[in-house]
Amino acid sequence: MRPRFELLEPALIDRVVDEALALLATPGVKVEEPEAIRVLTGAGATADGSRVRIPEPMVHRALDTVPRAFDLYTRSGRPSVRYGSGAVHFDPGSSGVAYLDPATLEARQSMAADLARITRVADALPAYDAVSTAIVCHDVPTEIGDLYRLLVCLANSDKPVVTGAFTPRGSGVMVDLLALDAGGRQALADRPRAVFDVCPSPPLTWSEFACRNIMDLGRAGVPAEMVSMPLAGVAAPVTLIGSIVQHAAECLAGIVLHQLAAPGAPIVWGGAPAIVDMRTGATPMGAIETAMIDGAYTAVGHRLGLPTHAYMGATDSKVVDAQAGLETGMTALVGALAGVDLISGPGMLDFLLAQSAEKLVVDAEAIGMAQRLLRGIGTPTETLATASFEAAGPEGRFLELPETRRLFKSEQFLPSPILDRQSRRAWLDAGGQDAFGRARGRVEELLASRPLPSVDAEVATGMVARVREAGAPFGLGKALPGVPAGFGGS
């Protein structure tokens, strides 16, 4: 039996959906893009300026055409993130602006080489089912920041990519890169490798770019992931349940627009909500209430039959310390038990501002534990214990039993040396390091041992050429930081 927990009773989920529908009708949603307003009003919505009221039947029609499940594929065509399958997946959190230098503990501006590092570490760790465009590359022209990050991910990993565009132009080039990688537009639509995050603005607003982006992605057949972020008490009602309603309203509006632009295109019910710390105005990602909003809106998504995503497994600590461990572990566990299809957040520190390869390595152990919990307590033997006792004899020789050797690996999650289970003596002999110290070593090991993905030379050349073409007007130089030497003739 898979353990589950219930944050909202079914009747309360119904009330959440009812109130979200009521909000879509009054006051409606602010839609800041003319075509989006036309698309919505053309299907029955009414608009007063940018304020669009969406009647309930429109929402039901949209929900009828949304795919219940879809997969993100690896380069070799293996489904890796299976949205809607019931499995829980993890990827590194996205779009940090700083990188935690493991030697100095300084959170310095993130660079393309840091993204390559994070990507290769996530690529090497089985805990991660996808990589992500985890940080902003400050050594790359801002105008091509979004598409360049995707190139770095595609060049350093075979896994699916969780990404996002900063401009419509960026989004277009990014789809080109993915099509090159997949072997054409149709191949990309059939076996998508990436999902694009699209963010409504709290409260109840779809900005010009978000509207453009979600319609473009739908029409290109590229999966979109809505990242709704009610901030409880400041940009959303202070109650957790009120924020959950707002999340539902923002996402339902997004689904209506997306499905009108491209019926049947894949889209994910996701988010990065947070409570607001009323002492400072900060939006803690490691707070248990933040995780509760995530878990609860996931339940609403499940009820509507939608693929789900959430930002969990992150911390607000500035370094990889005890706070980082407990916030990451607790929120990842809540997400896993809530059955979120894809959890983004590992590696992240400081309110999602900073990424750390070392934290990614530590977090992989929390994920291993959470996944083990989800597998639950099985009954792989015919009797639960009596036959084992019979076989072990009066001395209790359990360690010698064939079933012990056969079953221990599925009964137990075997952590990496990141989790210390040695004697104090052995621990001291190995250097007496804490988890962060051990993670520093493990990052280097992973980077040294993980081979670079093998990408078809022609495909790589095509991708590099596309990025150079897009980057030339903005001063992209000859050097391609973060891209492995020799990739695409670079």
């Binding site: 920041g145 009323m278 105005g281 900060a282």
Partner: protein, 215 residues
């Protein structure tokens, strides 16, 4: 008699009760208490108390927000009489605030604006997605001592530099100081673009502005 009224005013602000604050302001006018006395001896001490308690972690953002609202209500009632008497509230300085062009994030900026206003600064909030020319225009119009430029996105933070450049081109620098804030900003960034200061949070921003205007 005034003392008791002042105490009630202070309490109305602490309670964050705009209706009570407005009623007390009316009462002050009716009984001939000079509006400036009502503000300086009645309402401001309430705000000061709330600010101190906030700093000490005993009161919270909603307390600050509601106290500021109560204060605003009271001042709105007193303003016509102040104008008639041609008296002006002493302000510590004039601040123009806004979020850069292309960026619609405002929570942090609003907190800074609220805290500056409650600390005795005259705040002109231009809102979000503000073009650099608007910053220049407003800085000139209000004779701003400080212009605060907010950006949450790494893609829009370059706009903070543009605002500084345009203020310079307009000849308003260095008299008009510029401070920057927002998640991607930092002291290093502030120095790089020639800003006069950076603060990581709203409380720090108030201290920074005070220091810049010598208040």
């Amino acid at each position: 008699m005034s003392e008791e009224l002042f105490a009630q005013m202070r309490q109305a602000v602490i309670d964050g009760d705009p209706a009570a604050a407005a009623a007390l302001a009316e009462q002050a006018l009716a009984s001939g208490v000079p509006p400036l006395d009502a503000i300086d001896n009645g309402f401001v001490p309430g705000l000061t108390y709330v600010g101190e308690q906030f700093g000490a972690g005993e009161l919270f953002l909603p307390d600050m927000m509601l106290a500021a609202r109560a204060m605003q209500k009271a001042v709105a009632v007193l303003e016509p009489e102040m104008q008639r008497q041609a008296t002006e509230r002493h302000v510590l300085g004039r601040v123009v605030l806004g979020t850069v062009k292309g960026d619609i994030h405002e929570i942090g900026k609003n907190l800074v604006g609220m805290m500056l206003a409650t600390s005795g600064f005259e705040v002109h909030d231009l809102g979000v997605d503000v073009a650099p020319e608007r910053f220049v225009e407003a800085a000139r119009e209000h004779s701003a001592d400080v212009v605060g430029v907010s950006a949450l996105l790494t893609t829009t933070m370059a706009g903070q530099r543009t605002v500084i450049e345009q203020l310079e081109a307009a000849g308003l620098r260095p008299k008009c100081r510029v401070i920057v804030g927002g998640a991607p900003a930092s002291s290093t960034w502030a120095t790089e673009i020639g800003a006069d200061g950076y603060s990581e949070d709203a409380i720090g921003a108030v201290a920074l502005v005070r220091q810049l205007v010598g208040a």
